[in-house]
């Protein structure tokens, strides 16, 4: 059980991961580390704060070996190598981060050599040329439906849970990235996620809502991330088959339900579950000392279908071939750029 819950085990389960490790090893063998160069990173997220973020993942992770050199809120950040880093000076002189770049533009910039590290969505991942270096974390992002307290009738929530065809979304919209799941914790972390059924049952869903007034069957689904909107649209279509009328809205505030992503914040399942519960407004689960207790706690959280887990998704980055070194992210998706170097020095 402990072995199965190991992040590295989970990452290296798939054939893709094995190929990535092999590619990384080959690259490392082909070049020797050297100092210098700037790593150009593009991300979709935009930080509008006056100062760089210090908590979370991504940019805050750079604080281990880099210091902020330039900050343009919402647009651009430059981190310079910290000569006095505890782990030693990183190979890279600097990391330039461009924010608020759409996934499609990031992919194009990577293709044109304008960026070294970009995020890849399912569509962009599919379009990557063969041999492209890709960093992928373990499935650390939970995508789930979260109902507001306005949706009081549990039959509606359960019907929604039964209506969603996770497999179709996973196969097509997510291009098989990540895992289909009805659990809060991913399989690689808990080991029991498969116990939560994921199959859709539209017929049963219809029986649950039949007879309910139309107003009760009308639900607004808020989704703020434009990239997730196709998933929301598909959920709405599935819900329609179950007799529900789901309208997708770009604003999550005020919606009856929201399509959200929650990051697994810890490799400790109990802590991760507590973090997820807190993020989703669920009651804090009891501290579980055993997998059975953890399972019971998670099951209790999902009782009532206030939250409907859908998928566990990895962080996936496309990497310019000139970037060398070990994968720049951990299985939990943390950035580890201090051991990277770039071929050709300064661009």
């Amino acid at each position: 059980m402990r072995l199965m819950s190991s992040p590295w085990f989970a990452v290296c389960r798939g054939e893709a991961c094995l190929a990535l490790i092999a590619l990384a090893a080959t690259a490392a063998a082909a070049t020797r580390p050297h100092y210098g160069g700037t790593l150009r990173v593009e991300i979709r997220q935009s930080f509008e704060t006056p100062d760089p973020p210090t908590a979370g993942y991504g940019m805050p992770d750079l604080a281990r070996a880099f210091a902020i050199a330039s900050w343009e809120a919402g647009r651009r950040a430059v981190y310079a190598a910290d000569e006095n880093a505890s782990g030693g000076r990183p190979f890279l002189d600097a990391v330039e981060i461009e924010m608020a770049r759409p996934l499609r533009d990031q992919s194009i910039d990577l293709e044109l050599g304008k960026a070294d590290v970009v995020e890849l969505g399912p569509s962009e991942l599919r379009r990557q040329p063969a041999g492209r270096k890709v960093w992928a974390s373990a499935p650390v992002r939970l995508m789930a439906l979260v109902f507001s307290t306005r949706v009081e009738d549990a039959r509606i929530r359960e019907a929604m849970a039964l209506a969603v065809d996770r497999a179709a979304i996973h196969n097509v919209l997510l291009q098989r990235q990540g895992e289909v799941s009805a659990a809060l914790l991913p399989q690689w972390l808990s080991g029991y996620a498969f116990l939560f059924p994921t199959a859709a049952d539209a017929a049963r869903a219809r029986t649950l809502v039949v007879g309910l007034p139309a107003a009760a069957r009308a639900i607004s689904l808020g989704v703020e991330d434009a990239a997730a909107r196709p998933i929301a649209e598909r959920i709405a279509l599935n819900a329609r088959d179950a007799g529900l009328s789901v309208s997708v809205a770009a604003q999550a505030a005020g919606a009856d339900a929201r399509l959200v992503e929650v990051r697994i914040g810890s490799s400790d399942p109990a802590l991760a579950l507590a973090g997820i519960a807190a993020s989703m407004g669920l009651p804090e689960p009891p501290r579980a000392g055993s997998p059975e207790a953890l399972y019971a706690a998670e099951r209790a959280l999902l009782e009532g279908f206030r939250v409907i887990p859908l998928f566990h998704l990895p962080d996936v980055y496309g990497v310019n071939p000139r970037v060398k070194g070990r994968p720049g992210i951990t299985p939990l998706g943390e950035w580890r750029f201090e051991n990277l170097w770039v071929e050709g020095g300064r661009p």
Partner: protein
């Protein structure tokens, strides 16, 4: 109403009726001609629209065929995994100008949907039904979209590669945008009713105005029932439109929509209105000219008739010599000449009649004179002969006889003198000397004078005098004589006694005097000849009394009449003023 007015009215009516009939015929035939032209124009427009519609369908077919023939479609068709292509339909549809596009696997599973991307993996079973999609061309289809149901003009293409099949179902929504993109001729507009719900749903009328809904609803419902094209003119006046309602059927011949092609009748109505206005003006002018001509013609036609009437009136007024000038040879001329002959004949006859009457009067006068004179002459002759015989045979008695004879002679001579005086009076009737006369007093005074004679003749005299009667201009002596003659006449008419009534009545500015008796009455012939001089029904008298009465009344510009019947008495009525 004069003959000319009547004739003018008849002419005017004839002109108005003729002009109205011509105006109606011209307007109606012109309107029908314009209607036929309008129908041809509308049919042409409809044909043009159909061509445009068909062209749109062909364009969609070409677009779909282009997609089906594209490398992308072939790649999808032969792909073992369709999931990477779930978003392909949108880009293909955009590249080929289609609003709707679905790529459907051979088993009917949607690979990619441009109009509803989330619908991948769902089934489109209608596509896998046996059908020759290649030759079908464009057709209408009920299309489900995330926000409802719509109507589309669609075509299906197929891709067969590597033993696999891919359906390419593309099309265009039949919505307001589609309708507005159609190239329409001037004065034409297109409405589309999407027959997607049972019955009539106003919201499904695309391209129309709010006021169109109640107007076209019956038309749409008729098409829904009959499922065939119907043309109707809706509205009135220049706002009227001719609607051609065409049923739009799907590939299974189900009625999916009704296309309403409207052609404005504004130009036609305005043309008809202008034509009607011009016609009215021409008709009004024609009527005026007709009336003027009728006026002239009636004047020309009736002038001889009027002259004839005037001449006839003159004849009636006593001018028997009146004639009519006529030079025409038509019926009016003949009539005029006949009239002239008639008046000449009348004058001649009158002269002959007057002459005859004069002779008759002289004869009557002579007879009366002879009769009147013979009565006194016979006693004169007897007296003279007695005196001669007494002289010869009885001289001793001669003085006695002479005295008696002389007395008789004197008496008879006086009688003769009186007779001669009466005749002289009649011949020398003086002109009346007019002065205000109270007829009530005149009647009362006269009746008093006759009281002894009334008593002797056993006649009861009554008077009924109108107190409102005012003095009337008349000659009192002559009117007294008139009244006396009438009273004497009445006494003579009642030899066995009776009742005499004299009545006065006030007229406006005049008087009515009536003298009636209860005598034996007169025959109609006697009544007719009563006022003829020297005519009398009595054994004594000159026959001049009533003639004098009539002469006096006539001199006073009055009228006298008599009412009588045998056995019922007689009433004389005189009106003056």
């Amino acid at each position: 109403m004069t003959f000319r007015t009547r004739l003018l009215l008849i002419f005017t009516l004839a002109v108005v009726a003729s002009v109205a009939l011509v105006e109606w015929l011209v307007t109606d035939s012109t309107r029908q001609a314009f209607e036929r032209m309008e129908t041809l124009r509308a049919n042409g427009l409809v044909a043009q629209f159909r061509k445009e519609f068909d062209e749109r369908g062909q364009r969609i077919v070409r677009a779909v065929d282009g997609i089906a023939a594209s490398e992308a479609a072939v790649n999808i068709a032969i792909s073992a995994d369709y999931s990477p292509y779930y978003n392909e339909a949108a880009s293909l549809a955009s590249a080929h100008g289609l609003g709707l596009l679905e790529l459907v696997a051979g088993d009917g599973t949607i690979v990619s949907s441009a109009e509803w991307p989330a619908r991948f993996g769902y089934k489109q079973d209608w596509l896998v039904e046996p059908a020759d999609w290649e030759s079908r061309g464009a057709f209408l289809r009920r299309e489900e979209l995330p926000d409802g149901v719509t109507l589309s003009l669609a075509a299906v293409g197929t891709v067969s590669a590597g033993g696999r099949k891919l359906y390419v179902a593309g099309g265009q929504q039949l919505d307001r945008e589609f309708l507005s993109s159609l190239v329409l001729p001037e004065g034409m507009r297109v409405l589309l009713y999407r027959n997607l719900e049972p019955g009539f749903t106003p919201a499904e009328l695309v391209g129309g105005r709010a006021e169109d809904v109640p107007r076209v609803r019956p038309l749409i419902e008729q098409v829904q029932q009959r499922k065939r094209a119907i043309a109707r003119t809706l509205g009135s006046g220049s706002a009227s439109e001719t609607f051609h309602a065409l049923p739009l059927t799907g590939y299974q011949e189900d009625l999916l929509g009704v296309l309403l092609i409207s052609s404005s009748r504004r130009e036609l109505v305005e043309l008809e209105s202008a034509l009607r206005r011009t016609g009215m003006e021409v008709a009004a002018a024609g009527i005026l000219v007709g009336i003027a001509l009728s006026w002239w013609a009636t004047a020309r036609v009736t002038r001889p008739v009027r002259r004839l009437a005037e001449s006839a009136a003159r004849v009636a007024a006593g001018d028997w010599g009146a004639t009519v000038d006529s030079t025409s040879t038509d019926e009016i001329g003949q009539l005029a000449r006949a009239f002239n002959r008639m008046t000449h004949e009348l004058v001649a006859q009158r002269e002959r009649l007057v002459q005859a009457e004069r002779v008759a009067a002289w004869r009557e006068l002579a007879r009366r004179l002879a009769h009147e004179l013979k009565n006194p002459l016979f006693p004169l002759q007897i007296t003279v002969e007695n005196m001669q015989r007494a002289r010869e045979r009885y001289p001793e008695q001669f003085d006695e006889v002479f005295r008696e004879g002389a007395a008789t002679l004197l008496a008879e001579l006086a009688n003769l003198k009186q007779i001669v005086a009466r005749f002289s009076d009649f011949a020398k009737m003086p002109a009346p000397e007019m002065q205000p006369v109270s007829f009530n007093e005149l009647v009362s005074d006269t009746l008093k004078l006759f009281e002894p004679q009334f008593a002797q003749a056993r006649v009861r005299a009554n008077s009924a005098l109108d107190p409102r009667l005012r003095p009337v201009q008349a000659d009192p002596e002559q009117m007294t004589r008139v009244l006396r003659n009438l009273i004497l006449n009445a006494i003579d008419a009642m030899p066995e006694g009776g009742t005499l009534t004299v009545r006065t009545s006030a007229l406006e500015g005049g008087v009515r005097l009536e003298v009636s008796d209860t005598g034996q009455g007169l025959t109609p012939e006697e009544s007719r000849r009563l006022f003829t001089p020297y005519y009398t029904t009595k054994t004594h008298g000159t026959g001049l009394g009533l003639a004098i009465v009539q002469s006096v009344v006539s001199d006073h510009q009055g009228r006298i009449s008599v009412e009588s019947a045998p056995g019922k008495g007689t009433r004389f009525r005189i009106e003056l003023g």
